[in-house]
Structures are given as structure tokens and as C-alpha cells.
């Protein structure tokens, strides 16, 4: 009985320590996701409007991860673009997915992204180390044509 109790005690200690380490790792993943979304939005926001509305340009941009973090490269990134405020019909959204292996696929193509304003949604999703939960971080921004200062 005593031996069992002691065994349980030590196993608990090691597990608690392991949970702490996984907690740190999960926190780092979350911060990396926030940074990745911000970094990607900075690059897209800075692009010329004509580039932003050109599928091949955005697809080429997504070939590189948002930043050099190892965590970012293990995330699935989805970028959606649509004309703002009224998406085009019949297809309103151009969507790209950057997979964890680094390949980029174009999932859909908007009929028209317009010439004045475009809505950009960026999402990073991953499976957290702590509890293997599905996590995602996303943002949406409106980017205007013209000299942006």
C-alpha cells in the first residue's frame, strides 16, 4: 500500500511537470500564431492593390511562411479575399490554403475583386500540444486602393 502511494506520488509529480512543459509549448504556439497573422497582414496590407487582386501574386506570396518561426511552419494558413462591401456574384471569395507541408492551393476564385476595396481574412490553425485541441487565430482587414500612407 505504502509503495503504491509513493509510486502514485512520483508519477503525479512527473506528469505535473510534463503538463507544465506542454502548457509552455501551447502558449508559445498561441503567441506564434498571433505573430504569424500580424506578419501576414502587414505584408498583404503593404502590397500594391493590383498585386493583391492577382491570384498568382498572392499564391506566390503564400509560398513562404508568414515568418521564420518553427511553429508557423506547422500551421495551416487560409487567406480569403473578397470585394468590399459587396462580394462579387456568383463566386465572391478567392481562397488560398497554405498547408503544413508548404504547398499552397487555390480553393476558390472570386468572379471579381473590384478596384477600390478588398476584404482580407487571414487564419492560422493548428493542433495544440496541450490536450491536442484544435486552435485557430484569425483577423480580417479592409485594404483600399491608392497611395496608402
Amino acid at each position: 500500500m505504502a509503495a503504491t502511494l509513493i509510486g502514485v506520488f512520483f508519477v503525479s509529480i512527473f506528469e505535473l511537470n510534463a503538463v507544465c512543459l506542454r502548457y509552455i509549448e501551447s502558449s508559445k504556439e498561441a503567441v506564434a500564431a498571433i505573430a504569424a497573422v500580424q506578419d501576414r497582414s502587414e505584408v498583404l496590407r503593404n502590397s500594391a492593390f493590383s498585386d493583391l487582386t492577382t491570384s498568382s501574386y498572392v499564391q506566390g506570396l503564400l509560398a513562404n511562411p508568414a515568418n521564420a518561426s518553427d511553429y508557423t511552419q506547422r500551421m495551416t494558413e487560409i487567406v480569403q479575399l473578397s470585394a468590399y462591401p459587396t462580394p462579387s456574384t456568383p463566386n465572391g471569395v478567392t481562397q488560398f490554403t497554405r498547408h503544413t507541408d508548404g504547398t499552397v492551393s487555390q480553393d476558390s476564385t472570386a468572379t471579381d475583386l473590384g478596384t477600390t476595396l478588398v476584404k482580407v481574412s487571414i487564419s492560422q490553425s493548428w493542433t495544440a500540444v496541450l490536450g491536442a485541441r484544435s486552435r485557430s487565430e484569425s483577423t480580417t482587414l479592409i485594404i483600399a486602393n491608392g497611395t496608402k500612407k
Binding site: 509513493i6 506520488f9 512520483f10 509529480i13 505535473l16 511537470n17 507544465c20 502548457y23 509552455i24 502558449s27 508559445k28 503567441v31 506564434a32 505573430a35 500580424q38 506578419d39 502587414e42 505584408v43 496590407r45 503593404n46 500594391a48 492593390f49 508568414a66 515568418n67 521564420a68 518561426s69 508557423t72 486602393n145 491608392g146 497611395t147 496608402k148 500612407k149
Partner: protein, 216 residues
């Protein structure tokens, strides 16, 4: 009357006592060692998160200043110092607006918009006086990172974990820095010997574009 025998009166032998004491000592030593290790581990986790939050704060400060900057210059010797020149968005004491109305000090200035051949230009400079402010980030004694703006010093991060921000100015087709890439690392207090790997494992990344350099 029952007669008490020697067997019923007997206790533990010396050997039994010594063995029991030895086992107890080993178990107690293990418990104490485990408790100390746990305490150290919790302390390390607490410290890690505290420094991690400071990393985020440094990135936040730097990004805010870079985004509103005209230019960014960084030096790497002896330690990195980052000098950021920003327009005087706020009315300062001594500016014509402040002389006319002292209550306007530290309030945002209404920009002037001028139509030029290449499009409208927005100007935040005061009608007269200093048109820019210099913000300097520097590392102090390897333990803290300070931000100086107009002589006002703000300690934005302070830790014994050797926080180290590194910024790279990147030039594309413009003559000055167009965007910056920043990493902030620290050395956790709880390392397993390979400090370089331990430090790189804490890296937080950021990219920031200078809004005043952006194209159409």
C-alpha cells in the same frame, strides 16, 4: 491468570529497525528532492511566462513606433541600438499651436493635405519648429530594455533572463528602410546546458512596414 511469554513482549530487532530507518530515510530524501525540484520547476515556468510577456511587450512597442516612422536605423555594436525617427504627430510645448493655446500640448495635430502631381500628400509637421521626434531603443546592463523619446526614458522590459531584441532594417527599391524584421529572444533560467538552443527556442518574430513608405 494468563502467563505473559517472552515472545509477546518482544519488539523489533536492531536489524529490523536499521532497515526500516534506512528505507524511511531514502523515501524522505526522495520526497524532499522531488519537492525542491517541483518548486524549481514552478519557479522556472513562472519566470518563463513573465519574460515571455515582456517579449510580446517589446514587439508591441517596436511595431507601434516602426509603423509610424519615417526611418529606422539600427547599430549592432556594442549592443543593438535602434533609432526611429517619427513625425511629430502630437503638439509639443513650444510649437506655434501650443503657444497659441497651451491646452493643446500632447493632443494630435490636424495634418495638412497638399495636392501634388503624384497625389495628395499628408503632412503632420508643425508650421514651425521640430518636425520629427527621435525614439531610441537600447539595452541597459544586459538586464533591461529602455525606450527614450524626447529625453523621456521608459523601461519597457526588465528581466534577469537576458532579453535580447534584434531588428533588421530591410530595404527594397526605396532608399530608406521599408520594413523591419524583429526577433526577441531570452535565456531561460532553467537550461539543460545548450544555451544557444535554449535561447533560439524562445524566439518571437515580428514584421512591420513603415506606413510612411508604403506604396499604392
Amino acid at each position: 491468570m494468563k502467563r505473559i511469554t517472552r515472545a509477546e513482549q518482544s519488539g523489533f530487532t536492531l536489524a529490523e529497525t536499521l532497515i526500516a530507518t534506512g528505507i524511511s530515510t531514502v523515501i524522505l530524501a526522495a520526497l524532499i528532492t522531488a519537492s525542491i525540484a517541483m518548486q524549481k520547476s514552478l519557479n522556472a515556468v513562472d519566470n518563463y511566462f513573465a519574460t515571455h510577456m515582456q517579449q510580446v511587450r517589446i514587439i508591441d512597442y517596436l511595431n507601434r513606433d516602426v509603423k509610424r516612422a519615417f526611418s529606422v536605423v539600427s547599430t549592432t555594436t556594442p549592443q543593438q541600438t535602434i533609432t526611429i525617427t517619427v513625425p511629430n504627430y502630437l503638439i509639443q510645448a513650444g510649437d506655434p499651436e501650443a503657444i497659441a493655446n497651451p491646452q493643446l500640448v500632447n493632443t494630435p495635430r490636424d495634418p495638412t493635405i497638399t495636392n501634388t502631381a503624384t497625389g495628395p500628400q499628408v503632412n503632420y509637421s508643425p508650421p514651425a519648429g521640430a518636425s520629427t521626434t527621435t525614439v531610441v531603443y537600447s539595452i541597459v546592463n544586459n538586464t533591461s530594455i529602455q525606450r527614450t523619446e524626447n529625453g523621456v526614458v521608459t523601461i519597457i522590459a526588465s528581466s534577469t533572463d537576458q532579453l535580447l531584441p534584434t531588428m533588421t532594417d530591410t530595404e527594397l527599391d526605396l532608399s530608406n528602410t521599408e520594413f523591419t524584421k524583429t526577433t526577441v529572444t531570452f535565456l531561460p533560467i532553467f537550461t539543460s546546458g545548450n544555451s544557444a538552443a535554449e535561447r533560439s527556442g524562445t524566439t518571437v518574430f515580428a514584421t512591420s512596414y513603415l506606413r510612411n513608405k508604403r506604396r499604392g
